[in-house]
Every structure is written in C-alpha cells, then in structure tokens.
C-alpha cells in the first residue's frame, strides 16, 4: 500500500472522495440537505471524467433507490446518498433492495424527520428504517465516514446486503477535519472488481428478479435474508481487520473508550461519542472511572458482544438522538436493555433522549449525564428516561 495523504475534508467531501476512488458503475441520486454535497461533488467528478460512473439524476428519492435497484440487479456496483425525508421517501424501495439481496451502498447524512420541518441532525431518519434489512453503520467523524464508505462496498458485496453509512448532519457533514485518505489504487485494490453471481445483463444465464412470492415461499426467502444479516456480522469484522492491516485504523462492532476499567459509562453513537471522549479525559484527570461504548454497527445489532463489553459496569447511560415514540425508551436504549436482559444483567440503566432537530449537545450536558450516573450509584433516584437539553 502507498502512503496516505493527510487532507482537510468535510464529512460530505470525505464520502464523495471515497465514492470517487471506488468509482461505482452507477450512482442515482436526488439532492437533499444536508446530504446534497455528497452526490453534488460526485457529479462533478463524473462531469470532469474522473470516474466512469453512469450518473442518473432522478426526480425523487423513491426513483433514486428504484434506479439503484435496477442498476444493481443488472450487475452494476451501485451507490447513492440521501438524508431525512429522502430516506423516508426511499423506505418502500429500501425493503426491496434488501429483499432482493442487492449490495447497494447508501451515504445517509442524519437529519431530523418532519414534522416540524427541520434540516439539522438527529438519528430519526436512520432509525425509521432500522427494520428494512440494511446493514447500518454509524460514523463518529469525517475520517470514519470515509473509512466506512470504503469498507461498506466490501461488506455489501460479500454479504449480498445493502449497507447504509451515516454521518451526523452539519456537525460532521459540513465540519472540516483533518483526515487521512488512501491512494486511489489502494482503494481500488481494496474494493476489487465487483463480480456478482447472478445479474440481469448476463444473457448466458437468464434469471427472474422480484417474482411473486406468496404463502409457500415468502417465509423461506425472509428466513434466508435474516440469516444473511446475522452472517454479515462476521463480514463486518473481517473487512474491518483487512482495513486495519492496510491503514492501521481498526474497525469492529463498536469502539471502547477507556471502558475496560470504568465503573460507569455512556453508550452513544455518531458525533456525540467524540464530545463524550473529551469529557471522559477531563473526568479521568479528576480520578473518576468513566468510559464510553460507541456502537458502530447498529444493524445487525451485536447484542452479545455489547452485553459482554458492558457487563462489568455499575451504571450505564444510553444516549438516543431520536425517540422511538413507544412512550418509553429510545431505540438504542431498547437494544441495550434487551442485550443486558439476555445476559441476566440488571444494572442501573438511564436513557437520555437528546439533540433532536440539531439541538446542541455540549460538554456540560455530557458532564451532567456522568454526574447523574455517579448520583445514581450513591442511591439517588434518577428518571429512567430523560430529555437532555429540552426547555422545561
């Protein structure tokens, strides 16, 4: 492998750069804030002849995903990008992409869902489609967004499942960071050539895609899909290991930050994990044993591994940047609770719904969460679900 280039890139630029290096056969996309730049910058690469990609500008996100499905079924390496309402409009087709086992890669820049209308970050868009059968990977920063996009292609094609890679809208998508970018030839070598087993343009081996599947076969096909999603866990690990061998940047199901000897910890996804690390360093300097678990893979949810990583903690705060609208916990907290229950771990577990519609989450807020955990350990009663940063 050649030497990495250190560059300054926003999250959107980093994702577009990964797409340029991957040079997919087809990108079909429709613009939406804050993800517009991902495909806008990529469209520039197409116009400048830097990639061989067929760029399909469509009239909606539903059509974007439909075109991606057609292109992928035809045998092309296919990518797209969207956000919020765009992902919601794609929802119907997302299920079709995963059911047909098409390895499409989607860059989703997390943004709140309407209503009320809002363009800023929360995770409600990705959470809305968490049951759609896509592998879901969250990124903390622009470096991870770039690295995850490169890995997503291999994860998707090996497991024959579509993969969505997320960044936090504006916070990461529009924030400029120092990142390391691989040489083009290294990315090309890493993702390799896409050789699908069955595809529509193979006239030597005709196939039917998307046939009617009633009471006698639907269940078997869904069972297959469920198994493929379970199996994708080992693919995520092996692709992460390959990537680490080439870049020195390791990726697994989650990142543990000062967690192993921690007494209490936060579980947080996306950019908030970065803010938490700053707070952890400050609190550690004061002698407090605090840590962080940052899930990277949200679908499939690595339940046993996460329970194992949390088993020695005395108290846990789960940070949810969206609400599940079940009248109780947020979606991440539900997963964590289920994981702990199955291991017989009954712990102090406090849920914080935070950052909806881009509401800032600051160092003070995270400090308060660690403070609550410390109080809870001393016997103070803390609400099971809290709304952090909302005006009362």
């Amino acid at each position: 492998m050649g030497t990495s280039n250190v560059v300054a890139r926003t999250g959107n630029e980093a994702m577009a750069e990964a797409m340029r290096q991957i040079d997919p056969d087809v990108v079909a996309a429709y613009p939406i804030t804050p993800a517009t730049e991902v495909v806008q910058i990529f469209a520039g690469f197409v116009a400048d002849g830097l990639v061989k990609t067929e760029f399909v500008p469509v009239e909606s996100e539903h059509s974007a995903m439909s075109a991606c499905i057609g292109a992928s079924a035809a045998g092309g390496r296919t990518m797209t990008g969207t956000s919020s309402q765009g992902l919601a409009l794609m929802a119907e087709m997302l299920y079709i992409a995963s059911g047909l086992r098409l390895p499409i890669v989607l860059a989703d820049v997390n943004r709140a869902l309407s209503s009320p209308i809002n363009i800023h970050c929360d995770h409600s868009d990705t959470m809305m489609v968490k049951e759609s059968g896509w592998v879901q990977i969250f990124s903390e920063n622009a470096q991870e967004a770039y690295d995850n996009m490169v890995q997503a292609v291999k994860i998707a094609e090996t497991s024959k499942l579509p993969v969505v890679v997320t960044t936090d809208g504006f916070i990461i998508s529009h924030g400029m960071e120092r990142i390391e970018i691989l040489p083009d030839e290294d990315v090309k070598k890493f993702v390799g050539e896409y050789k699908p087993e069955n595809y529509l343009l193979n006239i030597e081996k005709p196939i039917t895609v998307g046939a009617l599947d009633l009471t006698d076969y639907y269940f078997e096909h869904k069972r297959q899909q469920i198994e493929a999603l379970k199996d994708s866990k080992s693919v995520v690990i092996s692709v992460g290991k390959d990537f680490e061998a080439k870049t020195g940047r390791g990726y697994g199901f989650f990142e543990k930050y000062k967690l192993d000897d921690a007494e209490y910890a936060i579980v947080a996804m996306g950019s908030t994990a970065g803010t938490s690390k700053v707070v952890i360093d400050d609190l550690r300097a004061k002698g407090l044993k605090v840590g962080l678990l940052k899930p990277r893979l949200f679908r499939p949810f690595p339940k046993d591994e996460i329970a194992q990583a949390l088993k020695d903690l005395k108290a846990i705060a789960v940070m949810d940047r969206s609400d599940s609208m079940n009248g109780n916990e947020g979606p991440l907290c539900l997963e964590i609770k289920a994981a702990l229950y199955d291991k017989g771990l009954n712990k102090i577990l406090i849920n914080y719904i935070y950052g909806l519609g881009g509401r800032e989450i600051k160092i003070d807020d995270i400090e308060k969460v660690y403070g609550d955990l410390a109080d809870a350990l001393k016997g103070k009663k803390i609400d099971k679900v809290n709304y952090l940063g909302v005006r009362e």
Partner: protein, 107 residues
C-alpha cells in the same frame, strides 16, 4: 388414493434474493385459472392472419405451421383482445363464459 404432495425446498436450498434461475420459467407458472370468459376458435372462419397472436398480451395463442390452432388456457386470462382484434367478418374467435364452457364439458 391420496397422492403424496411434492416436498418444497427449505430456505437453505433456495437461490438467494427471491431469484428464479433460468429462462422461460413463466411457462411453468400456470396463471390462467381465474378467467370469467375464454376465447374459442372457429377454425372454418379463421384466415390465420395472426393478428390475435400479435395482440395477445400473454402469448396464449397457439400457432402451428403458420396456422392458429387454438389457445393456451393455462395462461390465457380471458381479456378478449384476440376476439376484439380479429379482422374476419363475423369473427373467427368467440368469447364464451367459463360456466358455459364447463357445462359443455370443454374444461
């Protein structure tokens, strides 16, 4: 005597992604069992112009040696386009109700 039903493949044996491998498989999926009307050929009137064969949306007009010989009732949906498009005066294709056909023992 009851015949044993063929065992359908389990989930591990099926091609992934709801694919059907191989071409021309629509032939094996018989879709013509819910017609309300069926076309019946009147051979003495038919001039084998093949207009019905061109128009049939289900490729259910059977042609042998350049002549229309009948219909594939496993795939015909009874839409009546063949009879409507037949250019012969008085029509060489009759649409009759399935009930009528069954009464006459044509099933």
């Amino acid at each position: 005597m009851a015949t044993k039903k063929p065992v359908k493949p389990g989930w591990k044996e099926l091609p992934e992604g709801d694919l059907i491998i191989g071409g021309g498989t629509a032939k094996e999926f018989k879709t013509g069992d819910w017609r309300s009307k069926r076309p019946v050929l009147i051979p003495e009137k038919c001039i084998s112009c093949l207009t019905c064969w061109i128009y049939c949306p289900d490729s259910a007009v059977i042609v042998k040696d350049g002549k229309v010989v009948g219909f594939d009732y496993d795939h015909c949906k009874g839409c009546g386009i063949c009879a409507h498009e037949c250019p012969v005066k008085g029509k060489a294709i009759n649409m009759i109700s399935e009930r009528e056909a069954k009464k006459e023992g044509k099933v």
